[in-house]
Symmetry: C2
Subunit: 310 residues, 2 copies
């Protein structure tokens, strides 16, 4: 959000404030204050104007200015009611040289998961992609996938939903898929140019609108909708804190993992690995105890096996 | 090169062959053979036509069809007399979904090295970028930089120039810079979508045309020009063999390295590391013995120190 507009919003939130007082304190004209108030109303903020001045009555449930307002993370939000793919848009912003932008949408019409799989993204979800430019080698990038999964699972738990993480990139509720993470990057062999961390979170989505058997949503698990603005803000600020404290990511991931101590079958590019998942290792590899010893798997599709499975 | 044209070229190389015989053996019309011969002449191939038929007299020194003709590697060559940057063009081809294409140029007007540095690329060099789509995680990509450096150094040695490799991406002759490698990629956190391996080789370039103090060229070292077609073909076929045999890359790199057993100073994103370089480790890290023990460096600028340096 533009800086003066954010300052106007802060002033309105303090209770009824006369327009001239706001203009004076910000060093802008009264006409400018009026224009910002009108723009905020257009963005869905309810602003009352009475004898005592302007007052913020309510903040919209979702949208760019709503999520930026009160966000405790240095991200600019670019909101779309509907978009092809937030990751694709974030990649385009990367090509324009941008950074620290979050592309957020109510609906994606061409959402994707790992390996070009379709990710159904109806209206009511939280579909977002965070564009970063960290000074790290490409090998470290899987850590951002783990950080996003941790941020999503923690945020779900704060919303009362007992989420866990399935390696490498899914957030589950009792085995049902609640969210996924898709991390993309471009760069030189020893330094990334940009990273896009995409999160698809089934927030206020009817599970029947999701084609995947065994999918769920925050609203379904809680029996009622969540405040998407608050959930998005918590997710972003938690992710931001984790990227600033990389050593905290693996321990946090382990404490939320559904995959550890499970029998798993992982389809990797070089074959199937089956055994008991015993640890996750930097920057995001799964350690599996097989009949032939320990194997470290860096990529693949992971299936949790029940003890009765072959 | 288009398949029928390549077959026509093969037929011409076998000695004088009548056009009708070529047409019959390839199952095309005589007019088609004539058109291919004309196209080959336009591309610089010298084709004599006499009573006994057509005969290949000479192959052009450089160019797309010339390098494709007799190339022992499954790459298509896209040649440009002059181009902004072969890596940029290869990235554009990647965005179009292409693979196994080599962008080759006689001159680059906007050539780049690592970290966006300028790479001066006058006419007479071998400026090429190889577009690949291997099934590997981003962490493995530095191996392609090493493979390209090995292929370049070996090819230079076959041309009689005692090249060595400076970690991570330079090919030197007695400390003078002969070639550099710039590897770029895009992909998901656990799987690359494409890799572009760029090689800039000062082939038939006057070192005075290079702004870098201490740069050299194959022609300067040998005292005469190289056959750029043959050099490019050897470089590409050696690289192709190495990518098919990844276990051979590190041993080959070690045997050509100027950096090992040297005192080095490496400027990394997290600080300076100084000591004796003792090994290179998969997928491309340098192991340095410092006063405080061994450090493994994955990215940075490396300077070779003389024993008298501080």
């Amino acid at each position: 959000m533009q800086e003066t507009r954010a300052a106007v919003l802060d002033a309105l939130a303090d209770g009824p404030t006369p327009g001239p007082a706001i203009a004076d304190s910000l060093g802008v004209s009264r006409a400018a204050v009026w224009k910002h108030v009108e723009a905020l109303r257009a963005a869905g903020f309810e602003v009352a104007s009475g004898d005592d001045g302007y007052e913020l009555v309510s903040v919209p449930e979702f949208g760019g200015p709503a999520v930026e307002y009160g966000l405790n993370a240095p991200f600019e939000i670019e909101f779309h009611d509907s978009i092809d793919s937030t990751n694709a848009r974030a990649r385009a912003l990367a090509a324009e040289g941008r950074s620290d932008v979050v592309v957020l949408a109510d609906e994606q019409t061409g959402g994707r998961g790992r390996l070009d799989r379709t990710w159904t993204s109806p209206s009511g979800g939280i579909w977002l992609s965070i564009l970063l430019r960290p000074t790290v080698p490409p090998a470290s990038v899987p850590l951002y996938t783990l950080a996003a999964a941790v941020a999503t699972a923690r945020t779900a738990r704060e919303a009362g939903v007992e989420a866990t993480i399935k390696w490498p990139n899914d957030v589950l509720v009792e085995g049902r898929k609640l969210a996924g993470v898709l991390t993309e990057m471009e760069g030189e062999a020893d330094r990334v140019s940009w990273v896009v961390v995409g999160v698809g979170l089934n927030a206020n989505v009817d599970p029947d609108a999701l084609p995947r058997a065994g999918a769920t949503s925050l609203a379904h698990e809680r029996g009622g909708p969540v405040d998407r603005r608050a959930v998005t803000q918590r997710l972003l600020s938690t992710f931001d804190a984790l990227r600033g404290d990389p050593d905290a990511i693996l321990p946090a991931w382990r404490s939320l993992a559904a995959t550890l101590d499970q029998r798993v079958r992982v389809e990797t590019p070089s074959g199937t690995v089956e055994g008991r998942a015993v640890d996750v290792r930097a920057p995001g590899a799964l350690v599996i105890e097989t009949d032939d010893g320990r194997e470290v798997v860096t990529a693949g599709d992971c299936e949790h096996l029940r003890s009765s499975d072959p």
